[in-house]
Every structure is written in structure tokens, then in C-alpha cells.
Symmetry: C2
Subunit: 205 residues, 2 copies
DNA sequence: AATAAAATCCGAACATCATTCGGAAAAAGA
DNA sequence: TCTTTTTCCGAATGATGTTCGGATTTTATT
């Protein structure tokens, strides 16, 4: 039995990491279409067949790249300055969501066109949302606004619904930014303005 | 020189249409991953090589499918009841945007992950937006709200910016609906509620 | 009607891809 | 030192997009 911290296990994990690093680099430099088992293997001096010792196949590598990217998205949201006033904090969380997408355009597109297809069994919406760390950052930001008296939950429009509205908006901005608007210079000021408009609408409920 | 309306030309166009119909059917029944030149050819009793007489390649067929889908999206938006009061009309345009995505999940995903990569040369944002018929329906709906006194354009938040905000929101809803939320029952009421919140925010500017 | 040109369509081939398999070599364990 | 396990790969399989040479059909010209 191999010790989880044995040299062999650590080498194995380093190779797994090298595979993911190579995959990310190919995606960001050449786009998702250029990602292949052969391209990854070539980049780390392996044969394509050798990669199957570490991952079950190309889909598994893509899934792992997406998992890491979701973690990084969560970190990007959590990096928002917590000392900001609640409304500013929520808005800047949103801006960080879009900024992450702008800085990782192909990975972001991959995250939201690949991973969902891997969704196993359906579950209640709320349970599914609460399992998403990135969403929970937005939810907590909305909760701060409620606690500050800026937002007032209603029977037909609770905190969860408010958070979903915010997610819909920032996700729309991000998806448009990495697709239709991909050749346009990013305008964070315009994003900020739209978020202020939305937050004004939530506040007016 | 072949007459544009000659039998030969009409047969050629019918075959082009049959190829697109086959592609659409494969996409909606089996997903984008199942789309291949061999699958299309098999469905219309052609050989894969024969398809190259009508389209330059698989990418061109996908582009044509997306063009048609954008036309259908525009039609779905234009089908909104024009006799509705301006605010209701704008909201229902948004709901129709999401409904279209829900009814054409794989095609919608393809539209917004394939076509953008084909964007040639950069142009001013406003010019690019005005070239999109679907966006112009949203723009006109916002304009109606302005003319009805419901929205008031500001120097830093004009009609175009308002329309972009609305597009960001409905696009976010649609993209989440066809990816992360794809296994959830659609909730048009919740979409409608979010749109009301946003429109309240625009009205409050 | 006959002939030539253009269009249509396809089998086969090529290059690339994901994945599997049998096996050689290296590492680890007894 | 020997055995077992792990690592890694060449070659193969099946699938894909695309091209090419050529057969057949359709259209135009004489």
C-alpha cells in the first residue's frame, strides 16, 4: 500500500498537475480547439498513451481544469475588499466576476459549456446553488446588504432570489464579454454602472 | 450562366436546406457532440464527400445553422405582443429571449460559443450592436419605455446603455438556463420577477 | 441528335484525433 | 536477489474532417 505522502505518490501528483498546467496553457494560448491529448503529451514530454495513467481520458482532464477554474473564480470573488460598504462590496464582487472572465476568456467559456453537461442527478435549485462556493460569495454579499437595511426581502423575492438575480446579471455580462464582445475593449465602468442600476432595482423592492 | 431561379439552382438550394435541417435535427436530438459530416450525410442519403459541393466544410454548416438560429431568435423577440404597455412589452421580450433558449438549448449554446469566434475585424461597440436585429428589438422596447416616460436617459446612462443592461440580464438568464440550470425545471415566473426588478432599477435612474 | 462542358456525387485515401492493448523498463516491496 | 507493481510507450483500432480522381448526370452548344 502506497503512503499518501510517499515519494511515488508525490511524483504521481506532480505529473497530474503538470498535465493540468499544460492543458491550461494550451487553452489560454491557442484556444480550446487546440487542446488534444497529443498536444498535452508533447508539452510535457510524454506519449499520448502515457496520460491515461493519470486521467481516464480527455474529458476528465477538461473536468479537472474546470474544477480548478471554478476554485479560482471563487478566489477572485473572495478577493473583493471586505471593508467596502455592503452595496459597494456587492457591486465589486460582480465586477470581479466579469474581470475573471475577461482574464480567462477561453477557460471561462469552457467552464460554462463543459461542466454543466456533467451534472449528475437533478436536485432542488436551492440545494444546487448552495453547493456553489462562487454563488455563495454573491449570496453573502446580498445578505450583507439586507443586514445593512439596503435590501428588504419580500415573501416573493427573498435573499436567494436576489442573489440569483445578481448572478444572472454578472453571468450575462461575463458571457457576452467572452463571446459577442470578445473583440471589444473591456469597459468595467459600464459594467459597474449596470450593476448599480440592478442594485437600485433590488433596493426599490 | 445559371438562372438564379432555374431548376438546377432550386435543387441546389433545396439540398443546402436539407443539409441544414439534418444538422439542426442532430443537434437538437443528440447534442452538438454528435454532429459530424458523416452523420449529416447519412441522414440525407449522401456521402460525406458530397456535402462539400454545398458547403465548404463543417464549420460553414455550423455557421449557417447559427445564422438561422439568430434569425429565429429575432423572430421570437418580434413575436412579443406589441399591444402590451411598454414596460410589460420590454419584460415579455426578455421572457421570450429566455424561452427561446429553453426551447433550443443546444442550438442556443452553439450560437453563443461558435459564432463569436468568427467575428472578423473589431468595430465600435454601438455599430456592432446596431447590426444585431435581436438586440435592436430590445433597444426599440427600451425606446418605447423612454417615450412613455417610464425610463429617463441620462448623460452617463443613455438608451443604448439601458438596452445593453437588459441584454446582459436576459442573456445571463438564458446562458445559466441552458448550462448550470439545464436539469432544473424552468421558472418563467422567477425570470419575470428578476426583469421587473431590473426595470425598476432603470426607472429609478 | 450528338457532342462538349459543367455539375453532381462518391469511394478511397490521407491526416489527425481519442483510446486501448501488450509489453518493456523502472521502481518498490519482500 | 527476486517478485510485484507502476510507469511509460509504440502500435493499433475506430472515428473524424477533408481532398482527390473519376464516374454519372444534367445542361449547353453545335
Amino acid at each position: 500500500m502506497i503512503d499518501a505522502s510517499s515519494p511515488r505518490t508525490r511524483r504521481h501528483q506532480r505529473t497530474q498537475q503538470a498535465i493540468l498546467d499544460a492543458a491550461r496553457e494550451i487553452i489560454s494560448r491557442e484556444g480550446v480547439a487546440a487542446l488534444s491529448m497529443r498536444a498535452i503529451a508533447e508539452r510535457i514530454d510524454y506519449s499520448p498513451a502515457g496520460l491515461y495513467e493519470y486521467y481516464g481520458g480527455k474529458d476528465e482532464i477538461i473536468a479537472a481544469v474546470c474544477d480548478d477554474a471554478f476554485d479560482q473564480l471563487t478566489q477572485a470573488l473572495r478577493s473583493t475588499d471586505p471593508t467596502l460598504p455592503p452595496a459597494d462590496y456587492l457591486r465589486e464582487c460582480g465586477v470581479n466576476y466579469v474581470r475573471f472572465a475577461l482574464e480567462n476568456t477561453d477557460a471561462f467559456l469552457l467552464m460554462f459549456t463543459n461542466a454543466p453537461l456533467a451534472a449528475p442527478h437533478p436536485m432542488p435549485v436551492e440545494a444546487m446553488l448552495r453547493q456553489s462556493p462562487a454563488f455563495m460569495v454573491l449570496y453573502d454579499a446580498v445578505q450583507r446588504c439586507v443586514e445593512a437595511g439596503i435590501f428588504t426581502p419580500r415573501p416573493d423575492y427573498d435573499v436567494l432570489a436576489m442573489a440569483v438575480t445578481c448572478w444572472q446579471m454578472v453571468h450575462g455580462m461575463a458571457m457576452l464579454a467572452v463571446t459577442i464582445m470578445r473583440n471589444q475593449p473591456p469597459n468595467l465602468g459600464a459594467y459597474r454602472r449596470s450593476l448599480e442600476v440592478l442594485q437600485a432595482g433590488i433596493a426599490a423592492q
